[in-house]
């Protein structure tokens, strides 16, 4: 592949220890947004062992449904098998390594490898091996029994959100999410039925994956500037400069996000204010805990954007979708899938409460399309900035520049606005009102911690040999 001047310098030796120290004190070496050497480390130390979102259970609703999703370069088939269990298998034939399933979505009881015809049930089990006796001498040569496509080393889910980790010793997902799960519920558990996830729209942007993750985690400061146009055209009534800083940012567990401050009212009034019909409000009151309701009803904060380390983000907003004063809320789940140090594939899903009235679902979808995703009017301006930033970070000067990411704290570390008390903010973690970069620092500190702490290399997995006893891992 030819290199052009938008790509990061290939051979510049990075002072890793210095980079991590700078990042931890909120001074960001600008080249981290376009650095091939760092990207190689990110692949191993971050994407090789973090929990990575792959699909929601509603995308594989009935037995046989499957979607094919990637973790970086590794393709996985996410299926619901005939027993109704969710499975994730590495999409590589055990024989010569052909990609077994080459569609992105569908329904199948079996996957047959096109190369030599090995076939696998949708629970991953190898069931067909042509000429097993003639070619291998049967079980004595190749143990077919008990063989299955390589399962994802770790698989877990939360509110139907399926994650996999390439680390077989990954901690349970709930532990990984930690207190962020409290906030994840707002996006994914508005009723006992949870969400329906639709999409994703997928497109590639010439931007480093960390920029979107940081932006969604905590960048309330960009809203009044970047998104001026959507306020001007009457699409959005909230992001006026003076409004956004009244919101709180929070960091809890392995993720953090932003909120808007709502006008006075109780839980019902404030939830209706952003456009939820009363029947949905009633269901939320059944599924959200008392503390979750108090963040909205008492504290007056409504969740907006958020990011879970490393690359999964959420957004909840409430634009006008017709020529009236009514607003309609929508939820988007999005993933910043790295392609290289300067390219990211965005996967942007639309999420809606499965029990919402049909009319609400349609209008919420319209709100999503107008605001986010490949054609979204918010997203358009965001991406333009991120592409430009990535491009500018490629050269020698960016290696010298330390970007100041210390918004919200003085030189001695004192907070510009003190953290909200437990009475002002009933959610877990630490929350602040006002503009700040606490969350961006939290995210990048985790980034530095991962790169700084090399993962244990994974063991090879042999298949079919007697020595391996069938398969090392089932």
């Amino acid at each position: 592949m030819t290199r052009d001047i938008t790509e990061g310098a290939p051979d510049a030796m990075t002072d890793l220890a210095g980079t991590f120290t700078d990042v931890r004190r909120g001074m960001i070496p600008a080249h981290i947004y376009n650095d091939r050497e760092l990207f190689e480390r990110e692949k191993k130390e971050i994407f090789g062992r973090s929990w990575i979102f792959v699909a929601h259970e509603s995308e594989v609703a009935t037995p046989g449904d499957y979607v094919v999703r990637r973790v970086l370069r590794d393709s996985f088939i996410i299926t619901r098998d005939e027993q109704g269990d969710i499975r994730a298998h590495f999409n590589m034939c055990l024989h010569r390594g052909m990609q077994v399933c080459r569609a992105e979505i569908g329904n199948a009881s079996h996957f047959r490898c096109p190369y030599h015809g090995w076939s696998y049930r949708n629970d991953g089990r190898l069931v067909g091996l042509p000429f097993h006796q003639d070619a291998y001498g049967g079980e004595a040569g190749f143990q077919r029994k008990g063989q299955r496509l390589l399962p994802a080393p770790s698989l877990d889910s939360y509110n139907g959100m399926i994650f996999i980790s390439l680390d077989p010793d990954a901690p349970p997902l709930a532990e990984y999410l930690g207190d962020f799960a409290f906030y994840l519920d707002y996006y994914t558990k508005q009723s006992p039925s949870g969400i329906d996830l639709r999409g994703p729209q997928r497109w590639r942007i010439k931007a480093n994956w960390k920029i979107g993750a940081e932006n969604f985690a905590g960048d309330m400061y960009h809203t009044p500037q970047t998104h001026t146009s959507v306020v001007e055209i009457g699409l959005f009534r909230e992001p006026k400069a003076e409004k956004r800083k009244d919101g709180a940012t929070y960091w809890a567990g392995n993720g953090g996000g932003t909120t808007y401050k709502l006008p006075p009212g109780d839980f019902d009034e404030r939830t209706r204010y952003v456009g939820y019909p009363q029947e949905m409000v009633e269901r939320m009151k059944k599924t959200l805990t008392e503390a979750q309701q108090r963040v909205i009803g008492e504290d007056g904060f409504m969740i907006s954007a958020a990011t879970v380390f490393p690359n999964l983000s959420f957004v909840h907003n409430w634009p006008r979708v017709a020529d009236s004063d009514d607003v309609l809320p929508f939820i988007s789940v999005r993933q910043w899938q790295p392609i290289s140090e300067n390219e990211t594939e965005v996967l942007s899903w639309f999420a809606v409460d499965a029990e919402a009235p049909e009319e609400f679902k349609a209008l919420s979808y319209k709100a999503y399309l107008m605001c986010f995703g490949s054609t979204g009017m918010f997203e358009q301006d965001d991406v333009e900035n991120w592409v430009s930033l990535t491009n500018t970070a490629a050269g020698a000067m960016a290696r010298r520049l330390r970007l100041n990411s210390r918004m919200g704290i003085l030189a001695d570390g004192t907070e510009v606005t003190p953290a909200l008390s437990a009475e002002q903010f009933h959610g877990p973690g630490t929350a602040h009102t006002g503009y700040s970069e606490y969350n961006q620092r939290e995210l990048l500190t985790r980034w530095a911690d991962h790169l700084d702490r090399p993962a244990t290399p994974a063991e090879p997995l042999e298949v079919g040999t007697l020595a391996s006893g069938g398969q090392a891992q089932v």
């Binding site: 639709r198 497109w203 931007a207 001007e232 020529d323 399309l369 009017m377 991406v383």
Partner: protein
């Protein structure tokens, strides 16, 4: 047939359901010539980003749809993402998109992209209604921004429903079938 995409889409209930009748019109048929001219003129408006004039060429009941394409096994019976599209627009949402470009703060198009909509494979069909034509075309959009980035391309087939009005032919329904499942363009701050 692409008209069925419109009827299956989430937000297309308001769209005209008129469909093609019969085979293609001859290339010297005046209806084909009118439809072809309409498309060429439209391509010029889109290249020039004269979106105010472009909006005028759309009927009030326009349905502007661009499904998300997905790779599916042969015989799966579908190749678009169920319930998801890139565009699923009516006149109001298109007018908001245009209004945004007219503000001074639509940064994604400041500086503006250089656009070229290449148009080909135009086939015109009569419909059961004399005031409507169905036109198929292929479009290849080249878009370039700034100086250092290579340009990007979108290739798509389109099926349009044109309506003859007092102000001439207008677009009443468009289905854009893009040829990629993963778009290689940073955003779709353009129209196809």
């Amino acid at each position: 047939m692409t008209a069925t995409h419109s009827s299956r889409s989430v937000l297309g209930a308001h769209a005209s359901r008129i469909e093609r009748a019969g085979s293609t019109l001859a290339f010297d048929d005046s209806r084909h010539l009118q439809a072809h001219r309409w498309l060429v003129d439209e391509a010029w408006l889109l290249d020039a980003q004269d979106y105010t004039a472009w909006l005028e060429t759309l009927t009030d009941d326009i349905h502007y749809l661009m499904p998300v394409r997905v790779t599916t096994a042969l015989g799966a019976g579908f190749d678009t993402s169920p319930g998801m599209a890139h565009f699923d627009e009516n006149k109001y949402s298109l007018s908001r998109r245009v209004a945004r470009f007219l503000t001074e703060h639509a940064w994604t198009e400041d500086p503006p992209s250089r656009l070229r909509h290449h148009l080909s494979n135009v086939r015109t069909f009569a419909t059961t209604d004399a005031e409507h034509l169905v036109v198929e075309s292929a479009t290849l959009l080249f878009r370039n921004r700034g100086d250092v980035h290579p340009g990007s391309l979108v290739s798509a087939g389109r099926e349009d429903l044109l309506r003859n009005t007092a102000d001439g032919w207008k677009l009443a329904r468009r289905t854009i079938l893009v040829d990629e499942s993963v778009m290689r363009m940073q955003n779709l701050a353009i129209f196809l």
